[in-house]
């Protein structure tokens, strides 16, 4: 490993570089069987578990629904944009509507222990690997 000083930009650099080379991996294998590609997902690994991070700006927690079964997770809801009465719109860049996306992970997970955190328009799903899926150390006699 490198010297004693941790480069504070290391985490930033490696994240940016990795996100940059958009992986054309088959990792999710066309597994998003839901109706579309919104919201966009980034999936990370933390030790043995997975962390999925999704961006949903403007969606309130009450409009968001997450369901999990076997190794699929379904994220659905709606994004409402409301203008004041009698407003004239000068610029319209944001979009509103409904979304429904299903994510299938290629490892065995424990749906009961999935934790979801939603803050500032970002949904983070902590997906723990099933105990039965973790490698077991075999002792030698």
């Amino acid at each position: 490993m490198m010297g004693t000083f941790a480069d504070p930009f290391d985490a930033l650099f490696s994240l940016q570089r990795a996100l940059d080379s958009r992986l054309e991996s088959d990792w999710l294998q066309g597994a998003t069987a839901g109706m579309g590609a919104y919201p966009p997902i980034n999936v990370f690994q933390q030790d043995h578990d997975l962390v999925a991070i999704l961006e949903l700006p403007g969606v309130s927690k009450s409009d968001l629904e997450i369901q999990a079964k076997d190794n699929t997770i379904r994220i659905s809801g709606k994004k409402d944009i409301r203008y004041s009465e009698g407003a004239s719109v000068h610029r319209r860049e944001r979009s509103s509507g409904v979304f429904d996306r299903t994510l299938t992970v290629p490892i065995r997970i424990d749906p009961e222990r999935i934790k979801a955190e939603y803050r500032d328009g970002v949904l983070a799903l902590f997906i723990p690997r099933a105990e039965s899926d973790k490698p077991r150390t075999i002792s030698i006699n």
């Binding site: 930033l12 700006p57 403007g58 000068h90 500032d120």
Partner: protein, 131 residues
């Protein structure tokens, strides 16, 4: 009519004019601008930006907003699959004298920054009573 399916909007990356000392990317945040008799309202999407990391100021008739992302949350995570990139969100708009610059208010909710720019008194539409 059934509500429409949301489509993914690709983030628009900004090519920087000067080099910055911090190696983060910057993206143009999608913004809606609408106007009522009372005020001009901007709704700026900055997902992942905490309200303490938003800076806004008005100088020489230019409103500049900047939302900073906290990358430390990603430390210790190894990337497996990616669909979007992450960066800071700056944007600036020139605003006219018709805005009361001292009374601009801002609110951050669910990653959307809503700025209300109230119109200066003399700029509000006034009804002319015809005798």
């Amino acid at each position: 009519m059934s509500p429409q399916q949301l489509q993914v909007q690709e983030k628009r990356e900004l090519a920087k004019k000067e080099e910055s000392t911090v190696p983060a990317r910057i993206f143009v945040p999608t913004t809606d601008i609408f106007e009522t008799d009372e005020a001009l309202t901007l709704a700026v999407e900055m997902p992942g930006v905490d309200r303490n990391k938003v800076d806004g100021n008005v100088e020489n008739g230019v409103l500049t907003i900047q939302g900073q992302i906290d990358f430390s949350k990603y430390a210790g995570l190894r990337l497996l699959y990616t669909e979007y990139n992450i960066g800071h969100y700056p944007r600036s708009f020139s605003i006219s004298d018709r805005i009361d610059q001292d009374k601009i208010s801002a609110e951050m909710k669910d990653g959307v920054l809503t700025l209300v720019l109230p119109k200066a008194e003399q700029a509000k539409p006034r009804r002319i009573a015809v005798g």
